[in-house]
Each structure stands twice: as structure tokens, then as C-alpha cells.
């Protein structure tokens, strides 16, 4: 397997959507390719960081104000 072929399957590997025999080929490639291993690990980390850090907080005061405005309009029938 070449690095390009590995890269084409990177998302499927990350999302756990590869068949067992393909997974074995990907693992085999990883054993001998540090670059692809770094790419895989740092891409996984990228996703994890974005998933675990809220970058657009909705502060409680704003949340309450917007919530109240929405519900007031809904109660009036919009």
C-alpha cells in the first residue's frame, strides 16, 4: 500500500468504517511508515480537540435572554 492509498482511506480508518482485511493492510502500512502514523495520530487529535473544546460559548445570561425571547414569541403564536 502506498501513502496516497493510505490517505484515501484515512477517514474510514478514523471513523472505524473499514473491513477487517483492509484494516490489516492499513496497519501493515503504518508499521513501516512514520509519516502516515503521524498524520493519523495528529488528525485524530485534531478531531478530539475540536470535539472537547467549545469555542463558541453561549454565556448563561445571553442564553436566558434569547431563550426568553423565543418562548415569548412562540406563546404569542410567533
Amino acid at each position: 500500500m502506498t501513502c496516497s492509498e493510505f490517505l484515501a482511506l484515512l477517514d474510514d480508518l478514523i471513523d472505524d468504517e473499514v473491513a477487517p482485511n483492509t484494516r490489516a493492510e492499513l496497519q501493515q502500512h503504518l508499521k513501516g511508515c512514520e509519516h502516515c502514523e503521524v498524520t493519523l495520530n495528529t488528525t485524530r487529535k485534531t478531531i478530539e480537540i475540536y470535539r472537547s473544546h467549545e469555542i463558541y460559548e453561549l454565556p448563561p445570561s445571553l442564553r436566558d435572554r434569547l431563550h426568553a425571547a423565543i418562548m415569548a414569541r412562540c406563546k404569542k403564536g410567533c
Partner: protein
């Protein structure tokens, strides 16, 4: 290649469906529950698309009001959340168009860019690299980095990886094909990885 497993228990009713039915029967407090459940996500999506706090506030209100008005059109064959997100995405794009009059704003145009499709920065990252920054610094880095992506990539990444929608749900929500979602997701992930490497790569001579 393995196919994506369908959600188990397709016949089980999602709790949102019962809430939607209560709202349709005139119980507005059930809508209050739905708004509380999803307001943060809707606000986040609106912020990612409009990149403007005031617009995101307006979009959040308009999306929930529109969903309330249109609740009779909700079929129940998709999740309430994906239906709501679709409304929020459309409202966000409308808001962007208003702001950038005359400028084309679309998420379905294919973005011609090779950036990030081949990893260039191959340096490994420090272990737990985010710990080298304060929460505020990290949030700024993450915001700046994702804002640099083309909108069509950004929103696919947010729906799929941050919100946790499936590929199919993301495609349905954005009116894109499944292959288009997959191609954008890969490029979004690789571009973000590449850009974050500047901040997170292991420093030379550092044991960390």
C-alpha cells in the same frame, strides 16, 4: 468496504418525536424543552457559518421560531435535530448573503483547493499539546484555525465531527451527496491538522 451501520432500533421512537407531538397538540412548554436541548448547538453552528456574534444570535432566534411555525411540516422520518439544523444552516446562509450583498455565498459549490490534501507538515505533536496554552489561548487558536477553512468544509467538519451527525445526516442536512460530504470531511480534517501543527508540533530539542 464496510457500510455504515444503520441506527439500531429504527422502530423505537426518538424522545423528540413525543415532544414535537405535544407541541402540535398545543403544549408550548414541550417546545421549551426542545429549545433548551438544542440552543447551544444551533448557536454554535450559526457562529461557525456567519462568524459573527450578532448574526448568530439572530439566527438562533429565527431558526427556532421558524421551526415552531413549520412544525406541521416536520415528517418525523428524519430526526428533529437534523431538521432543525437544516433550518439553522439556511438562516445562517441568508444572513451571510445579506451582509455580503452581491457576493455569492454557498456551501454546495465545490471548492477547488489542494491545500492540505497532501500532508506537508510531518512533524509529530507534543503529547497533550493543548496543555501548553491557556483555555483562552487555545480557544483563540481553534477559532482562528477553523475560520480559515472554506465555509463548505467548515460546516461539514462541524456537523460531522463536533456535532456527531452521521455522514448521511450531514449530507441530508446540507443537501449534499454522501461522496461530497466524505471528500470535504477528509480535506477539512487534513487542513485543520496541517494548520494546528504550527502550534502543536513537538519543539526541537524538547523532550515533551
Amino acid at each position: 468496504m464496510a457500510t455504515i451501520q444503520s441506527v439500531a432500533g429504527e422502530n423505537e421512537q426518538h424522545p423528540d418525536v413525543a415532544l414535537v407531538e405535544q407541541v402540535r397538540a398545543g403544549d408550548v412548554s414541550a417546545y421549551d424543552t426542545l429549545v433548551r436541548k438544542y440552543e447551544r448547538q444551533v448557536f454554535r453552528i450559526a457562529q461557525h457559518i456567519t462568524q459573527n456574534r450578532e448574526d448568530a444570535e439572530d439566527v438562533m432566534q429565527d431558526a427556532f421560531l421558524k421551526a415552531f411555525e413549520k412544525l406541521d411540516q416536520f415528517q418525523g422520518n428524519s430526526k428533529f435535530y437534523t431538521w432543525l439544523v437544516r433550518i439553522a444552516v439556511n438562516e445562517s446562509l441568508m444572513r451571510l448573503r445579506k451582509r455580503r450583498t452581491g457576493k455569492m455565498v454557498s456551501i454546495d459549490e465545490d471548492v477547488e483547493t489542494e491545500e492540505g490534501s497532501v500532508p506537508r507538515d510531518l512533524a509529530d505533536w507534543a503529547p497533550d499539546p493543548e496543555q501548553n496554552y491557556t483555555q483562552a489561548e487555545l480557544a483563540e487558536i481553534l477559532r482562528k484555525t477553523i475560520q480559515g477553512l472554506p465555509p463548505g468544509f467548515r460546516i461539514v467538519f462541524v456537523l460531522r465531527d463536533v456535532d456527531g451527525l452521521s455522514t448521511e445526516e450531514t449530507a441530508e442536512t446540507l443537501g449534499l451527496s454522501v461522496p461530497a460530504v466524505k471528500s470535504r470531511l477528509l480535506r477539512a480534517r487534513l487542513q485543520l491538522r496541517e494548520r494546528l501543527s504550527r502550534y502543536f508540533r513537538r519543539k526541537k530539542g524538547s523532550a515533551k
